[in-house]
């Protein structure tokens, strides 16, 4: 039996955790609200009514199945790139290159879908997804290797690689895709549909496309008239699953623990016996795979082919999505919803109220600034801060008596059992 004192203590801990958790959500929410408030001055300057504008924005994002389909379509790639940035950032690898890795993933997936046309869906879908992940991974290996082995700043290398990747893409969608007789290496890797003059690929095989709600309804013997349902696809489910998997990987496995240890303090991690070089390379591979899959899911789930400018900026958007999501994979889902909804509703806002689409960038930017400022300044009530300090002192005192590896783990705010 627990004494009353112990019961009270346990409840206090639960209560504190609850407060702590709600603050993790309250800060971004407050930041978003403040961003909307400040941005409304720009809308007023335009001579429009902010309330009308925001109502239109909301309706454009959630008002109908079609609007909802738009929001989900926008969400899927930024969930994946948001996860890519989150995982990299947690491990000290700031992946600005998600944009390029996404393009590599989209190209690899498209190539599978237009080349292996005879394959059955149960094989082609996972294979295409895997190809995208692999392409993104390999592309991230370049900056990962350069950082781990030679100490090059990854922000720089990934950024330069993005520009190069986009041009590679621009080139390949202009090379006729010919396999079999008469094919050269170039035509083999080319992506353009030879039967038409424009820089775009053929549609990928039916068997390579993600099943949609419409096909599920048909399979169950029902019928549906709503074309928007075709855009509710398995891609969205996979993106959500990916977030859950990444949460477990990051917070519940040794791999994730090592990654975070390197992210917090590489030198301390080294002393703890973690191979920092290998961890950095693994991180780059995982981050790249996620970004590559962003491209795959876009192609397999929604567009079914690559075309010039098919998805610009989703890689860069991963950065703010990750940050507003408090660098937590589950938070990324929520912040992707916010970003996806903004993008989906922006056009309707412009048409209805005259407030220009570009205002949503201002809203996003302010939201990030407030969110990071809110986190750094530590707006938590004094009670929580005090509790944290006391907790830290207690742990420190306990660990002082224990094994020599303990202080290092303590510094990382982790339990020792993970090591």
């Amino acid at each position: 039996m627990l004494s009353t004192q112990e019961v009270t203590n346990r409840w206090q801990i639960v209560y504190r955790r609850f407060l702590e958790r709600s603050f993790n959500i309250l800060i971004p929410l407050g930041a978003i609200l403040a961003a909307f408030l400040i941005s409304s001055t720009l809308i007023i300057a335009r001579g429009a009514n902010p309330l009308t504008a925001y109502a239109a924005l909301f309706a454009g994002a959630f008002g109908s199945t079609n609007a909802l389909a738009n929001t989900i379509t926008r969400m899927v790639p930024i969930i994946m790139t948001g996860l890519a940035v989150t995982y990299g950032y947690r491990s000290g690898f700031f992946n600005i290159g998600a944009e390029g890795q996404l393009f590599m993933g989209a190209m690899a997936t498209t190539w599978m879908g237009i080349t292996l046309v005879g394959w059955p869906a149960w094989l082609l879908i996972p294979a295409s997804l895997l190809a995208g992940a692999l392409a993104g991974s390999l592309w991230a290996l370049i900056p990962g290797y350069l950082k781990a082995r030679r100490g090059f700043n990854e922000v720089l290398t990934t950024l330069l690689l993005n520009y190069i990747t986009i041009q590679l893409f621009e080139f390949l969608i202009r090379v006729d895709h010919v396999v079999g007789p008469g094919a050269t290496f170039l035509s083999w890797i080319g992506l353009k549909d030879p039967s038409q003059p424009f820089p775009k690929s053929a549609y990928i095989a039916e068997a390579a496309r993600m099943p949609s709600l419409t096909s599920v309804i048909t399979w169950l013997g029902g019928t549906t008239e709503d074309p928007a349902l075709q855009r509710f696809t398995l891609a969205a489910v996979i993106a959500v699953l990916a977030a859950v998997v990444m949460y477990i990987l990051l917070f519940k496995t040794t791999t994730g623990y090592r990654a975070r240890a390197v992210g917090v303090n590489p030198r301390a991690a080294q002393y703890m016996g973690i191979n920092v070089m290998r961890t950095t390379i693994t991180t780059a591979l995982i981050s790249g795979a996620l970004a590559g899959m962003a491209g795959s899911l876009e192609i397999m789930g929604f567009q079914h082919r690559v075309i010039q400018n098919f998805l610009v900026g989703a890689g860069y958007d991963g950065i703010p999505v990750a940050l507003i999501g408090q660098l937590n994979p589950l938070g990324v889902l929520l912040s992707a919803l916010f970003f996806g909804a903004l993008r989906a509703g922006a056009n309707r806002m412009q048409i209805v109220s005259g407030a220009p689409v570009s205002i949503i960038y201002v809203i996003q930017s302010l939201a990030i600034l407030f969110a990071i400022a809110g986190t750094v300044i530590d707006l938590r009530p004094r009670r929580l801060k005090q509790a944290e300090i006391e907790e830290a002192k207690r742990v420190e005192a306990e660990l002082a008596a224990e094994s020599p590896s303990a202080p290092a783990a303590d510094m990382l705010g982790e339990e020792v059992r993970h090591v």
Binding site: F94, Q167, R174, P356, I359
Partner: protein, 319 residues
């Protein structure tokens, strides 16, 4: 084909283009260098350039003069720099992250301002290309008459001259003046600087504002220098390239100058060679400047040594 290449590389216009394409990068990078040496990461120059570009266009439009445009450009760049300073210095937030956010904000703000000022009220979008007063090349007396060299260096836009002379000026200030010593000490060892009575906060704020001023001018060079209008996202990554050049040049003015010159050269080459119809796809040439920079970085520059306190917010002990 060989003759065509010779023709390109022997033409005066080609080298004048190299200088012209180098100038915006150089202006921004020299401004960025000052903040970098004070310990502030200048990943936000992209946004400052964009603000400078719209500021230049709007200022030039309203005042009807290029000088007015330049004043607006500097103010717009410094406005973003001030926000960046608040985040980095006062709040102590992660600098690269703040920069990413402000770059995004500048993209939105510049496009919104462009739409507000120049758009057709009825349609809500910019329906016609608005041209505003823009800078004209100024030939420098005597120097401009030197054969070849005069046409390459001394018959350029005024801001191009400013970019070129900013290299020795920034070098002199950083290494030969007390201000420079303060800046460097704040970037290398803020606590020591604080102990001897240097205000870390003030030095960092002023350095970032200087970056904003220079990046703003670099943006104006794009909007009212090379063109006479604003285009959405017209900085197109040049702020990032300028940042790359700082690391490429290992935080030394001369190295940075060479870095921006390399990019300007690669950029000028790709512009000319694209027109030649070589059996190499033109996308390769568009990627060429980035490829050259990446390869040069990996092959020749090696590991970078950052200013010791780079990216770290300063907090007095015992606070």
């Amino acid at each position: 084909m060989f003759e065509q290449l010779v023709e390109i590389f022997t033409s005066v216009a080609f080298y004048a283009a190299v200088i012209r394409l180098t100038a915006p990068l150089l202006l921004a990078a020299m401004g960025g260098l000052v903040a970098e040496r004070a310990g502030i990461i200048t990943f936000g120059m992209e946004g400052m350039m964009l603000m400078g570009a719209i500021g230049g266009a709007v200022g030039s439009y309203y005042t009807g003069s290029v000088l007015g445009g330049l004043a607006f450009a500097m103010l717009a760049g410094m406005f973003l720099a001030l926000l960046y300073g608040v985040m980095c210095v006062s709040v102590g937030a992660n600098q690269v992250v703040s920069a990413v956010a402000l770059n995004l904000g500048a993209l939105g703000l510049s496009s919104t301002i462009f739409a507000l000022v120049f758009s057709n009220r009825a349609v809500g979008v910019v329906t016609e290309v608005v041209s505003v007063p823009s800078m004209q090349p100024v030939k420098i007396p005597l120097l401009g008459d030197i054969p070849i060299l005069g046409d390459i260096l001394f018959n350029q836009l005024p801001l191009v001259y400013l970019a070129l002379i900013s290299v020795p000026i920034v070098w002199f200030v950083l290494y030969r003046t007390t201000i420079g010593l303060k800046i460097r000490s704040v970037g290398e060892h803020p606590h020591a600087a604080d102990t001897v009575g240097i205000s870390v906060v003030r030095v960092r704020y002023l350095s970032v504002l200087f970056t904003g001023l220079m990046a703003g001018l670099a943006g104006a060079l794009l909007s009212i220098g090379m063109l006479n209008t604003f285009q959405e996202n017209m900085s197109a990554g040049r702020g990032f390239i300028a940042y790359t050049a700082i690391i490429f040049g290992k935080w030394e003015p001369l190295g940075i100058f060479l870095g921006t010159l390399l990019f300007g050269l690669a950029d000028a080459i790709q512009l000319r060679i694209q027109a030649l119809n070589l059996p190499i796809p033109y996308q390769f040439w568009v990627a060429f400047p980035y490829l050259v920079t990446l390869l040069a970085l990996v092959l020749f520059v090696g590991k970078a040594t950052w200013p010791a306190a780079s990216g770290q917010p300063f907090k007095r002990e015992g606070k």
